[in-house]
Amino acid sequence: MKPIVRATNLGKQYIIGTRDAAYDTLRESITQAVRAPLQRLKHGNGKRNTDTIWALKDASFDVQPGEVVGIIGSNGAGKSTLLKVLSRITEPTTGRVELYGRIASLLEVGTGFHPELTGRENIYLNGAILGMKKTEIDSKFDQIVDFSELEKFLDTPVKRYSSGMYMRLAFAVAAHLEPEILIVDEVLAVGDAQFQKKCLGKMSDVATEGRTVLFVSHNMSAVKTLCNRTIWVDRGEIKEIGETRQVVMDFLRGASPNLVEQTWPDPATAPGNERIRILSARLQSLSEDEKQEISSETPFQLEFEFWNYSCDREVNFTMHLFTIEGTYVLATSSKVGPRQRGLIKEVIKIPAHFLNDGIYSVSIQAVEDGVSVYMHSQILNFEVYDAEQAGGYFFGKWPGIVRPRLEWESPNLI
């Protein structure tokens, strides 16, 4: 099928340093103009602008009509630059983009809101700035007001709004944009949990309506829910394009490498404090076939060694398990009681058929007499692989965090 967005060899170069920095004055410009030829003489024919940076380099991709494409990457990777080029805010240095549809971008909610104007007035102003026609705003006005739940405050200047109300109104306008291509930056990370939920709901409505959406987010679960395909941008270049689950997984794997063993042999410098220090943390497979790879069918254990400084306190340990997306999976605690002074060991056994495939991170906490004395986050990171594509006729990622084998009774099975 013919793409609705086609980007080829897109690049954006910024000059860093004094030359093109903001707020340069005429005088600086004049002195620079005088100095530049002199410098060129001094340094021969060498390029003067060595202090440039490619915020985006050689990015090529197609987006099909109706696709919802996620754009992920760590901070400063070039996601925002890509969005700015696509939404025509800044001009690319190289390359070309062809857009076969009306485009609107939402890099911020409430762009152009004026604090002195009322809610009603700002709906019109903001709508026009986002590219809506007046007749279009007229016809959607009631829906926008309904969505914002602010009908009582429509004639109040928005400077008297709470930040939550402001965001609600702003998002309500944005949510009623109807371009063929919509570019959305991290705008869902605002407002209270309830409103966020509403926004996500609206976003997935948009996604199912057949609109083409490019969606930048740090929220991996949002990306996974909304996007069919995902682009991973790393240091200005496109590192991977493909099916969302795979790209997100690769990105997370890159962001937090497998960390299945850590040791600190010297108790004097080991992490911890005068109560307790951590000497080692290790993930150990318990499978018979000596393979260290953990799958959802492999039982394994987490072993911790501590240096304990007191034997007269009630001590216990808590292990916190998170998915790499930050979902809290579980917490589990050891027996409570005094431990011997010196080297002590704690082992947690994790059964097979319990965790689903995914990347997990482990935090360990030491508690003495009911008071937390030390917490070490992300002491281990590990991946549970998908053991079997044997979930019957199902292919792809098995949903959920846990994957227990529960007993089914099917008396009518023929």
């Binding site: 093109d20 005088r27 805010i89 001009e91 690319p92 062809e98 002195e116």
Partner: protein, 307 residues
């Protein structure tokens, strides 16, 4: 005219515009039939690029809304509100009448000094406010420029348009003054809208260029008030051009506001037009407008990066 009669038998549409039929057929194809040609092509555009009038036209409603916002916001939380649009030129006129008209005895071409001065001040207040607000408009709209696309010219354009609203209000005072001083209707008054148009275009040309320059060189912000003040003394607002020695008078013609302000007075008070002065103003205005729209387009590309 040499088309034979066979053409008359076929449907007029297909002969008149064969391409139109083809595109119609295409639309009956797949439901989400994308246009053949991209709606927008984004690519680096070195140097000069043409004025995209179609794009400007598509965003005309934004111009309206930004103008409306500027007018609305300007007098918010003021006690006197839009009356400020009148107070500014009115009080300046009173002071000028007292000091220049009465005490210094500056001549006013046989027109009562108060309306002579007020006419000049009306035009000048519009012009100077327009170039000052539009000159600072882009920098003041940094939050828009870095977040959303639209033709950037709309920003200084809206600032000038908002000035027109103030002008219209202060114009009512001029009409009242003219009635009071018994100035009668003449056909030359039909030239008044032309003068307004010229002032608007000149303000647009100047303001657009200054606003773009201001993005990169914040010196503009400091130079502007100073420049506006000097420019006022070099324009025939307090005095008529006839007050000056001939040599200076022709030099002053290089200031496009000279011809325009004299033109305002000629149109209202039925005095002969100085067509040469007007032609010079019109040519300078047009050249400036062309130059600054191209300069603006050239600098526009980097606005979001440096503002």
């Amino acid at each position: 005219m040499g088309i034979s009669s066979t053409n008359n038998e076929t449907a007029p549409i297909s002969t008149a515009n064969p391409t139109r039929k083809r595109t119609l057929e295409n639309h009956q194809g797949p439901p989400e039939g994308l246009p053949e040609e991209p709606l927008v092509v984004i690519e680096p555009n070195g140097g000069w690029s043409a004025l995209d009038l179609r794009d400007l036209w598509a965003y005309r409603e934004l111009l309206y809304f930004l103008t409306w916002r500027d007018v609305k916001v300007r007098y918010k939380q003021t006690e006197l509100g839009i009356a400020w649009a009148i107070i500014q030129p009115l009080f300046t006129m009173l002071v000028f009448t007292l000091f220049f008209g009465r005490l210094a005895g500056v001549p006013s071409d046989n027109v009562p000094y108060p309306i002579f001065a007020f006419t000049g001040l009306l035009a000048w207040t519009f012009f100077s406010n327009a170039i000052t607000t539009s000159g600072n408009s882009l920098v003041g709209s940094a939050h828009l420029i870095t977040k959303v696309y639209f033709p950037r010219m709309i920003i200084p354009g809206a600032a000038v348009a908002a000035g027109l609203v103030d002008f219209a209000i202060a114009f009512v005072i001029l009409v009242l003054l003219m009635i009071y001083y018994g100035v009668g209707f003449t056909w030359s008054m039909l030239m008044f809208p032309v003068m307004v148009l010229l002032t608007t275009l000149l303000a647009l040309g100047t303001g657009m260029w200054l606003s773009a320059l201001n993005v990169k060189y914040r010196d503009v912000r400091f130079a502007l008030p100073f420049m506006v003040q000097l420019w006022m003394y070099l324009s025939p607002i307090i005095y008529p051009t006839s007050f000056l020695p001939a040599k200076l008078r022709s030099l002053l013609l290089l200031n496009p506001m000279t011809g325009i302000i004299e033109g305002y007075r000629s149109s209202l008070f039925g005095r002969p037009f100085n067509w040469i002065a007007l032609a010079v103003s019109a040519v300078i205005t047009l050249l400036l407008l062309i130059y600054s729209s191209y300069a603006f387009r050239r600098m526009e590309k980097s606005f979001a990066d440096i503002v």
